[in-house]
């Protein structure tokens, strides 16, 4: 008590006017500040049921501006690189699709961490061939992406695609969380405010889809259009309840520049994972097409199935994503062994 500082207010009774006014001033200022802040932050409506974000409406149209006469080539053979090269040449050469300075995104199927020999993923030779042709045509950058089912690093590494990327000078973009943004497909029932890997399209000018040919019990077949499932994020498996519906909507998300469907080997059974060489059959076919639906129609034949068994192909055609009757495109037929 005796150590009270001498400039402090007296302990009892007479408060000085000056001190009182000062205190009133501080108290009023704080009260005003609290009131002002409350006014700014006042929310009469309460929170919305969910956090709405501005959604994208699509991933873009990457179709070649001046395509050649041929829209599709079906190449027979066993040498993937040669088949890709001949097929692309039949469509007018890669220069038709890739110009100097283009940034090309290659959407591969890297779903599983299994070796290329088991055919569950895009074959690294096919990938390297396409990437090589892109660079030759003047591409500034070739990016490779997928949002696989197993952990991405293992998938790209074990499938051999990481090595193919390194040797061809292209870059793998793993599906980091920041790359996903909500997308609502206009007129879509399923893809509404759904996270889609839109970030990889930043600055991309051309998109190619490179897919294996695989059995798929739920969908009938896993080909080019099913490969687009890999652009989806979130717990996308709920869409298996309407597998044909979701693939049809995926087909409308973007128009690819070029589709390469690698049926050199076809996974006939136990798809889409495979796991045994006995699940595979040599079908010696490479499809190079600007039309993903038509490419998939050929894939269905390689699997020995009919379009009726793979409903999404005709549904995607009806939705305007392409042509299910691939013969109507008058495909160029080639044989590298001849």
């Amino acid at each position: 008590m005796s150590s009270r500082p001498k400039d402090a207010a007296p302990e009892t009774g007479d408060i000085t006017r000056r001190d009182f006014l000062k205190r009133v001033g501080y108290a009023s200022a704080l009260a005003l500040a609290a009131g002002g802040l409350s006014y700014v932050l006042y929310d009469a409506k309460g929170p919305p049921p969910s956090e709405g974000q501005k959604a994208l409406t699509g991933l873009g149209d990457y179709a070649a501006k001046a395509p050649g006469a041929a829209k599709m080539a079906i190449v027979r053979g066993t040498d993937r690189a040669l088949m890709v090269e001949r097929g692309v040449k039949a469509l007018g050469g890669m220069e038709v699709f890739v110009q100097k300075g283009d940034r090309v995104l290659l959407k591969v199927n890297a779903a599983f961490a299994t070796p290329a020999s088991l055919g569950a993923t895009t074959h690294p030779e096919t990938l390297a061939a396409v990437a090589g042709l892109c660079f030759k045509a003047g591409a500034a950058q070739v990016l490779i992406t997928d949002n696989p089912i197993n952990n991405p690093d293992s998938c790209f590494e074990i499938s051999g695609m990481a090595q193919a990327a390194r040797s061809s000078g292209s870059r793998i973009i793993p599906p980091r969380g920041a790359l996903f943004a909500p997308l609502s497909l206009p007129g879509g029932r399923l893809i509404q405010q759904w996270p889609v890997m839109a970030g990889v399209f930043q600055g991309v000018t051309k998109v190619m889809v490179i897919s294996p040919v695989k059995d798929h019990q739920r969908a009938g077949a896993s080909l080019t259009l099913k490969n687009l499932y890999g652009f989806l994020g979130g717990r996308r498996n709920v869409f298996h309840q309407d597998i044909n519906g979701i693939i049809t909507e995926l087909a409308q998300l973007l128009k690819p520049t070029l589709c390469v469907l690698d049926g050199t080997v076809t996974m006939m059974t136990n798809g889409p994972t495979g796991g045994s060489l006995s699940d595979l059959k040599d079908t010696g076919t490479m499809v190079v097409s600007t039309d993903p639906v038509a490419a998939d129609a050929v894939g269905v034949e390689l699997l020995g199935r009919t379009l009726g068994e793979v409903p999404y192909i005709q549904m995607a055609a009806q939705a305007g994503a392409g042509v299910a009757d691939y013969q109507a495109l008058k495909p160029v037929l080639l044989d590298t062994k001849a």
Partner: protein
Amino acid sequence: MRIVTVRRLSQIFFLALFLWFCVTATLGAHWWQLRGWPINWILELDPLTALATVLATGTLYKNLAWALVTIALTLFVGRFFCGFACPLGAINQFTGWLGRLGKGTEGRVEANGHRRAQAVKYYLLLFLLALALMGSVQTGIFDPLPLIHRSVNLALAPLADNPLGVLSDAPRSYVSAWLLGFLFLGIVGLNLVLPRFFCRFVCPLGALFGLLSRFTPWRLGKTTDRCGDCRICEHYCEGACRPSGKIIGGECVLCFNCMDRCPADRLTFATKPSAAGEAGLPDLSRRGFVVAGTGLLLTSMWGIGGLAGANRNPHLIRPPGALDEERFLARCLRCGQCMRICPGNIIQPALLEAGIEGLWTPAVNYRLGMSGCLPNCIACGQVCPTAAIRPLSLEEKQGLGEFAHQGPIRMGTAFVDRGRCLPWAMDRPCLVCHELCPVSPKAIFTRTVFETIREGEGLPARVQGQTVVLEAAFPAHTNLISGDFYLRPRGAPDAGLRRITGLAGVGLILERPLTGEELAAAGGKVDIVVRLLRPFVDAARCTGCGMCEHECPVSGLRAIRVYSENESRSRPGRMLI
């Protein structure tokens, strides 16, 4: 160079090396990833690990022989490991020093005075070694080397790296990481109470080193008994080993601060006994042994619970190649290397899934992480320093080649929960589990059924050209043209099913048109039927890899779940004949 400078450089080196091995314990092909970096080396230098596993298993596993180097050096010069190498010791020493900046000399001498409680770690060591002799290796809970690996790799590194994404593209998850972090921060924080608190009172590895330094030819000591009363030697004495008086050799951590600071150069590291006398160890009391013995009595009751046998926890999935529970607990250090390396991030530190005796042992959690257990991955067994998880080859894991007769390694069996599964319980097609089953032929197979859907029973309809028109509008939430729905004249057998392939105006297009006569025969009514492929598990093929559970779209409690039934490692868990 001054000896304390050498000591500091050595401490920095080992701490940096430890952190570097934490970085390189990343599966991948980059030079900074796991490409032969000896990420277990610091763990392997640990004689407590070597001794405990030798007591529990009767063998010294491969690289644990590195401990001989540490043992030999300690036998000759004392606890150099504590002063020069232990990464946790370095952190403790540094924080203890930091917390005492600006403190007076009196407080320092008091803080570094010898305390009776320093004997506690010897009782703890005795308890842990006796427990190991009984077959349960629990040293890793307290041993600073597994402890720091676990704490940094599972709690601190994810905290630092998850926003950056350098070590891992996707954020890493570890259940109860907070507890590991809390204990670690607690250990570090205790240095503010007393310097090297953990080292002095708890560390069983330090206690083992103390015992090993009993006959060191070289040791710290005074050259003369006559000495002033300055006690400068104890200002920074890390071991609290009383260098000013009758030095306690077993407690000296070879920090050399006393020797460095003595103004009269009366302290020396030499072959002569200290002129002021020597004590080997702190005074051990009978009470301490009684407590240790009681603890032993309690822990020996663990076995009565039967967790390794009849009372197995069916939710406890061990990593592929894990030994049967009893032999597993005779080796596992809880160092967390398997959890760190797992590329799927599914190996998690158990809390009580494996009982209190299995605290922080690896348990697989298929709800977390990136996917199930990858058929082409054997990383966990390859990094396990004690072979609690055996180092499998890919052939053995997949049951190929010379292992074909025994089949793949099974971690458990998947069970379909028919009350939650979409095609089983809710008339909705799904089949994600079947799609992702990586076994060939798939362990999940399907049976096809056609079920009339709730709103689709006996609907009045008419034939219009090639299509069928329903009299009343059908609820919009069912996509009738999705390819999964069929139309059947009311009461007709399944042969009358026709797939709905599209819409023409309000009419349903069918794969085979329905005739007016057929419809009339059914009383003008049709059923809307959904085709369901329902999943079944072939337990003889299931490896328990958990791909199905991880991807099941019923995302809360999954509709297909793996239990430890039929796991390869367990005889009592065997299910099939």
